[in-house]
C-alpha cells in the first residue's frame, strides 16, 4: 500500500476518459446481479451512485442516518450547478471549465480528474432535465444561466435558490425508482461506524441502528462512501447539524489515506454570529454577489448606520482590489479580504461583518427583478435577522462551508484500500485547495451518475472480489470494537456536555486552523486539541442508554472523531509551508497580502496514513500540470 498510484490513463487529456472507458473491463449484464454493493450516504453523490448502479443491475444496499434519503445536506445547496454547455454563446467549453476549476483550486487538483468532470458536466444537466428537475428557464422555454465566482462566463444552471434541493430530489427519485424495482434496498436511520477490511480489501460495514441501538453488520463485494465533508469539526459551520466525518474517519483508521485535510473552504457570504447559543451558521448563496456589492466603511469602528455612510466614505474593497472579477472573486479570496478589513477594525460597527448591498441593483433593475432572482434568500435573511435587506444592506461574514480535503482516491475514485470507493465531498480529488461556487453539485453528480458506474464494473470484473459472510471473525471483531466504544462513552458519566466540548474544539480550530494559520498557532493547536480530547474522555456526560434512540450518544461518537481529525488538519497545515487556496499560512504571503504558493516544493497531494494514536505517515502524490500552466492566481 506504500506507493500511491493515481492510475491516470495515458494520452491527451481530452481523450483520457474516453480511452479509459473503452479499456476498462465490463461485467456481463446477467452477471451484475451476482454482485452486492454498499453505498453509504444518500446525498447527490450517494443517491446518484446507488440509483445508477441499481439501474445497471447490481444489488445495492444504500445507507443513511437520516429518516429519509431526501434529507441529506446536498438539499441545502442554494445557488446552482456548473456545466460547460455554452448555451450563452459566451465562449465556454470543457477546456475552459477545466481551466477555471484547476486555477480556482490554486493548482492543487489533479488535472485528469478535473477534465473528466468538465467533460461530463453537460450530461448531468441533460440527466436532471430528463428526470423532471424544474430548472429556471427564460421566455423562449430554454434553460437559463447565471454567473458564479471565479468564472467570466455564465455557466451556472439553477432552480431558484433551491438548486441543491431540486437536484437531490431528482437523484432520490431515481433512487426511489430502484427501491420500487427491488434493485436497491434502502437502510434508513443507520449510522456507519466502521468498515470491515479482509485480506486488504473492503468487504462490508458495521452500522448502528439509530432506533434500536443494535450494531448491525452488512457485507458486499465493494463499499462506496459518499458521506460528505467535515466542516462541523469547527462546530459552527454552514453544514447541517448531523453532517459528520465518522464514516471517512473510521475508514481512515482502518487504512484509507486522508488527503489534504487542511484544505477547507470558508465561505464569504454567511450570516454573522449572533450569540453563544448559536448552533450553526447560515449561508447566503454566492449568487447574491452577482448583484450585491460588498463594502465596509473607510473608517475604523464606524458606528454610523449604513445609510448614513456616504458613498465616498465607503470602501468597495473587492471591486478595488480585484477590478476584473470584482464582487465575484473566488471564495477563498473574498473571505480573506473580509477578514482583513474586519481585522483592521473596519467591519460593520467595528465588529465581524461586512455589508452586501443591493441598493444599486435595485435602482438599476427594480425591486421586482431582484425579488425574482433572490426572493427566497432575502426572506431567509429577514426571518433570521429581523431586518429587511431591500431597505438596508445585508450583513455577512465568512464561515466554514466545504472541505476540499477527504479520503485519497485514484482516477477510478477508489481509495488505496481495494474495493473502497469514495465519492463527492468525502473524497479529495477535484477542487484542489479551493472549490469554485456551483462545482460541488457538479462533482457529486458526476461521481455518482457518470464515473462510478464505469469504474465499479472495472473493479468487479478485474479484481474479481469475493463476498464474505457477516459471520466471518473479522466482522465479529469490528462489531465488538464498535460496541466497546459505545460502552466506554456511556461509562464516563462526567460533568461536561458533548456540545460544550465540541464548542471548545471548534473555537480552537477556528482561531488557528481557520482563515489564517501560522506555525506557532498550529503547534499550540495540536496541544490544545489533545487537552480537550483528554478532558472529553475523562469528563463527558452522556445520559441515556446505548439500546435506544440516543442523540447525545450519536453526537459524542462524532466528536470523538473530530478530535483526531482536527489534529490531522493542524498537522497537514503545519506541513504545507505555503499559502494556496483556502490554506493561508501567514508566513507565506506577498506584500499586498496575496497567497504565496510554492510550486517547487508543495505541488503534491498530502496523503496521510494513520499509524496509531496521534501518529501519521505522509505519502506524497506529485501533481503534474501539463495543460494548465501553474501561475500566480490573479483575479485582478
Amino acid at each position: 500500500m506504500a506507493k500511491l498510484d493515481s492510475k491516470i490513463p495515458a494520452g491527451n487529456i481530452s481523450e483520457k476518459w474516453t480511452n479509459h472507458k473503452f479499456n476498462m473491463k465490463l461485467v456481463n449484464p446477467s452477471n451484475k446481479r451476482k454482485f452486492d454493493i454498499i453505498v453509504v450516504g444518500t446525498g447527490l453523490a450517494g443517491a446518484s451512485a446507488a440509483a445508477s448502479l441499481g439501474e445497471l443491475g447490481y444489488n445495492v444496499k444504500a445507507f443513511t442516518f437520516h429518516d429519509s434519503a431526501r434529507r441529506a445536506h446536498s438539499i441545502a445547496a442554494q445557488g446552482g450547478i456548473n456545466a460547460s454547455k455554452n448555451y450563452q454563446n459566451d465562449g465556454d467549453s470543457d477546456f475552459r471549465l477545466f481551466y477555471d476549476t484547476v486555477k480556482g483550486g490554486d493548482f492543487r487538483a489533479r488535472e485528469a480528474n478535473v477534465h473528466r468532470l468538465a467533460e461530463v458536466s453537460g450530461n448531468i444537466i441533460d440527466q436532471c432535465v430528463a428526470q423532471g428537475v424544474p430548472f429556471a428557464r427564460d421566455y423562449g422555454g430554454l434553460l437559463d444561466n447565471r454567473s458564479f465566482g471565479g468564472a467570466q462566463v455564465s455557466r451556472t444552471f439553477y432552480a431558484r435558490g433551491q438548486t441543491g434541493q431540486q437536484l437531490l430530489l431528482g437523484a432520490v427519485s431515481a433512487l426511489n425508482r430502484q427501491v420500487d424495482k427491488g434493485s436497491v434496498k434502502l437502510y434508513l436511520r443507520r449510522e456507519m461506524l466502521d468498515v470491515v477490511i479482509i485480506d486488504g480489501a473492503a468487504k462490508g460495514i458495521v452500522v448502528r441502528n439509530l432506533l434500536t441501538g443494535e450494531i448491525e453488520k452488512y457485507s458486499a463485494h465493494a463499499v462506496v462512501l459518499a458521506t460528505g465533508g467535515y466542516s462541523n469539526v469547527f462546530f459552527l459551520s454552514t453544514n447541517a447539524m448531523n453532517c459528520n466525518a465518522t464514516a471517512i474517519w473510521r475508514a481512515h483508521k482502518r487504512g484509507a489515506y486522508f488527503a489534504n485535510p487542511c484544505f477547507t473552504q470558508i465561505h464569504p457570504t454567511c450570516l454573522p454570529l449572533h450569540g453563544e447559543s448559536q448552533s450553526k451558521l447560515t449561508l447566503m448563496s454566492e449568487s447574491l454577489r452577482n448583484d450585491g456589492r460588498v463594502w465596509v466603511s473607510k473608517k475604523k469602528a464606524d458606528m454610523r448606520n449604513p445609510a448614513d455612510i456616504p458613498e465616498d466614505e465607503r470602501d468597495y474593497y473587492l471591486e478595488r482590489k480585484y477590478p476584473s472579477f470584482g464582487n465575484l472573486a473566488p471564495r477563498d479570496i473574498s473571505s480573506r479580504a473580509a477578514k482583513e478589513v474586519c481585522d483592521e477594525g473596519r467591519g460593520v460597527k467595528g465588529g465581524d461583518a461586512v455589508y452586501l448591498d443591493f441598493k444599486d441593483a435595485i435602482n438599476r433593475l427594480g425591486q421586482k427583478v431582484i425579488e425574482e432572482r433572490y426572493g427566497n434568500l432575502f426572506e431567509i435573511y429577514e426571518t433570521i435577522t429581523g431586518e429587511n435587506p431591500y431597505k438596508s444592506p445585508m450583513m455577512i461574514y465568512p464561515a466554514p462551508h466545504y472541505t476540499m480535503g477527504g479520503l485519497w482516491v485514484d482516477y477510478n475514485l477508489m481509495s488505496n484500500v481495494p474495493g473502497l470507493f469514495v465519492l463527492g465531498e468525502a473524497n479529495f480529488s477535484d477542487h484542489g485547495a479551493n472549490r469554485l461556487g456551483a462545482s460541488a453539485l457538479m462533482q457529486g453528480l458526476a461521481d455518482g451518475y457518470f464515473v462510478i458506474p464505469y469504474t465499479m464494473g472495472n473493479y468487479l470484473a478485474g479484481d474479481k472480489p469475493t463476498l464474505v459472510k457477516t459471520d466471518h471473525p473479522e466482522f465479529e471483531k469490528v462489531a465488538k470494537e464498535v460496541k466497546d466504544l459505545t460502552n466506554k462513552l456511556l461509562s464516563i458519566k462526567g460533568k461536561r456536555t458533548v456540545d460544550d466540548l465540541h464548542k471548545q474544539l471548534g473555537r480552537i480550530m477556528w482561531d488557528n486552523v481557520g482563515m489564517g494559520r501560522n506555525e506557532a498557532g498550529l503547534k499550540k493547536t495540536i496541544e490544545q486539541i489533545r487537552q480537550v480530547k483528554e478532558e472529553f474522555w475523562k469528563n463527558v456526560t452522556i445520559p441515556g442508554s446505548g439500546d435506544d434512540v440516543n442523540q447525545t450518544l450519536e453526537r459524542a461518537g462524532r466528536l470523538v472523531d473530530y478530535f483526531e481529525l482536527g489534529e490531522l488538519m493542524a498537522l497537514d497545515a503545519l506541513d504545507r509551508k505555503e499559502s494556496c487556496g483556502g490554506h493561508f499560512r501567514e508566513e507565506y504571503q506577498f506584500e499586498d497580502g496575496e497567497a504565496k504558493r510554492d510550486d517547487e516544493n508543495y505541488s503534491y497531494v498530502a496523503a496521510w496514513e494513520f499509524a496509531g494514536e496521534n501518529k501519521w505517515n505522509l505519502h506524497k502524490e506529485e501533481l503534474k500540470y501539463e495543460y494548465v500552466k501553474q501561475a500566480i492566481r490573479s483575479y485582478k
Binding site: 440509483a51 437520516h66 429519509s68 428526470q131 423532471g132 425508482r177 456526560t541
Partner: protein, 256 residues
C-alpha cells in the same frame, strides 16, 4: 446588540418510546431573543444533560428550512405561529417575556411517535417509491434544451416541487390527510412534459399507497396550505383529483 433575555415556561411532550404513554413536562428557560427555537431546545438539553437527565429528543438537520427534518407543533400550530417557515426558522423574538409555550410532536395515525418529539414519517417515502419519479435510466437522455418548457409552466412545477416533505400538512389536517404532499409531487410531473408518459399510472399508484398507509381523506379545510412552510397551494390537490379521475376513466388503456 445584546438584547434582554426572555423568561419562558415550556410544556414539552415527553414519551419514552412508541409503546409508552407520553405526557407534558414543564421546564423554565431563559433565552436570548436572537436564538432560534431549536437553539433554545439545544440549551435546555445541555442543562438536562448536566443533570444526568436524557435530552429532549427532537429532529433537525439543516436548520435553514429546506431539509424538512424538523417539525414541532408549537402552541397548536405545526412549525409554530408564523406562516411559511419551518420550525428551525422560528426565532425567539417572536415570543413575549413570561409566555408559556406548548411543544408537541406532529400527530397523525400514519406518523407514530418514536421518542419525545420524534415521529416516523417513512410513509411519505413509501408513497414516492410508488411512482414519484420519471422512469429514465442514467445516460442516453436528450440534450437539456431539446425539451423547451414554457417559463410559467416550469415555474408552476417548481412551486409544487418546493415541498420539503416535512409532514406539517398531515399534522395540521384534522383527517391527517397527505393530499397536499402527494399532490405536490403528482403536480410537478403532471405539469412537465417529462412526466406525461406515466402521468395517469403514477397518480393511481401513489394514491393507492397513500390510502393503504392510513392517511385520511381531504375535506377541503385548507389547513395544510395555511401551515405549509413552503406555501404549497391546494390547487395541486384539485389537479391531482382531476388526474386521478382521468386515470380511472382511461384505466390502463393506451392514450392515443
Amino acid at each position: 446588540m445584546k438584547a434582554k433575555k426572555l423568561n419562558l415556561t415550556l410544556n414539552i411532550w415527553r414519551q419514552k418510546n412508541s409503546k409508552s404513554v407520553g405526557s407534558f413536562a414543564e421546564y423554565k428557560v431563559q433565552v436570548s431573543p436572537d436564538a432560534s427555537f431549536l437553539e433554545m431546545l439545544d440549551e435546555l438539553n445541555n442543562t438536562l444533560e448536566l443533570k444526568g437527565e436524557e435530552a429532549v429528543h427532537f429532529e433537525s438537520d439543516c436548520r435553514e428550512g429546506i431539509c424538512g427534518t424538523c417539525g414541532l407543533v408549537i402552541n397548536g400550530h405545526a412549525h409554530g405561529p408564523l406562516p411559511k417557515i419551518a420550525t428551525c426558522q422560528l426565532h425567539m423574538r417572536n415570543f413575549k417575556d413570561g409566555e408559556t409555550i406548548w411543544v408537541e410532536p406532529f400527530r397523525a395515525k400514519a406518523f407514530p411517535v418514536i421518542k419525545d418529539l420524534m415521529v416516523d414519517r417513512s410513509g411519505f417515502d413509501k408513497i414516492l417509491q410508488a411512482g414519484g419519479y420519471v422512469s429514465i435510466n442514467t445516460g442516453g437522455v436528450p440534450d437539456g434544451n431539446t425539451i423547451p418548457i414554457q417559463k410559467e409552466v416550469s415555474s408552476l412545477a417548481m412551486d409544487a416541487a418546493a415541498c420539503i416533505g416535512c409532514g406539517a400538512c398531515v399534522a395540521s389536517c384534522k383527517n391527517a390527510s397527505a393530499m397536499l404532499f402527494v399532490s405536490a409531487k403528482v403536480s410537478q410531473y403532471a405539469l412537465l412534459p417529462q412526466g406525461q408518459p406515466e402521468r395517469y399510472r403514477r397518480v393511481e399508484r401513489m394514491v393507492k399507497v397513500m390510502d393503504d398507509l392510513g392517511f385520511g381523506s381531504c375535506t377541503n379545510t385548507y389547513a395544510c396550505e395555511a401551515e405549509c412552510p413552503k406555501g404549497i397551494s391546494v390547487t395541486n390537490i384539485a389537479r391531482m383529483n382531476r388526474d386521478f379521475m382521468m386515470a380511472k376513466i382511461k384505466s390502463k388503456e393506451v392514450e392515443v
